[in-house]
Symmetry: C2
């Protein structure tokens, strides 16, 4: 009944976070349990929306839940620490670069093999299978 009260459905729409995912975040303690109506429905206020948008953006950037917990802590007025934030972001960046390097290697092998496959259409042998066998 409060002026800015949001249902979980509205919060999901406004934050871009799936409704069940919001409940999941509550279960794992990533967002605080909100107040409830007499009937048991969750009622959220503004700060919950801002927190979820923060989480969604961090997830879109590939941060894991544990990293996001820390980032949320470090974003609080009391102990904002850009140095610590940068350490986490730089470490995540390194992981992203490592994954890219792995995938580029895969891509090279696959692309080369598939192209030999294509050049070989009425095929007596199959480059892809040959790579996997023997």
């Amino acid at each position: 009944m409060r002026a800015s009260a949001l249902s979980i459905g509205m919060l999901a729409t406004l934050s871009g976070v799936n409704l069940e995912t919001i409940r999941y975040y509550e279960r794992i303690g990533l967002v605080a349990p909100p107040e409830r109506t007499a009937g048991g429905h969750r009622q959220y206020a503004e700060p919950a929306l801002r927190r979820l948008v923060f989480i969604r953006r961090a997830r879109e950037l590939g941060f894991g839940i544990q990293a996001i917990r820390v980032l949320l802590d470090l974003s609080e007025p009391g102990h904002r620490s850009c140095g610590d934030v940068r350490t986490i972001a730089a470490s995540h960046l390194a992981e992203v670069r490592a994954k890219i390097a792995d995938l580029i290697r895969l891509e090279s092998v696959l692309a080369e093999t598939v192209s030999r496959c294509a050049a070989n259409d009425p095929a007596p042998n199959c480059p892809v299978l040959e790579m996997l066998e023997a």
Copy 2:
């Protein structure tokens, strides 16, 4: 007691597939249940080793289990089909390329933001947090 019989431990070592993973593959029907000794220990022969090496290589290339099932079928003497194999490999290649493109986008955003963070060391504001908030 057969000449070429392999224990699951030997098979794991020779194939490069973890012992528990071999049992998992048996549970999901990716490899056939082997014969057993009187005491219940699994006894494998050559074909099991070749099949596991095939599976391991395909996994290393990022193919999913379902795709590997099909690749294994298509590799059998009866119905070898390089065209079908190429279709699967090309589709996987497209997925790998899409993932790379996603990660490159992440990498750009993270790298740019982190570098602004570094240039900003005694920081009044934090580029990473600013990106996540508001």
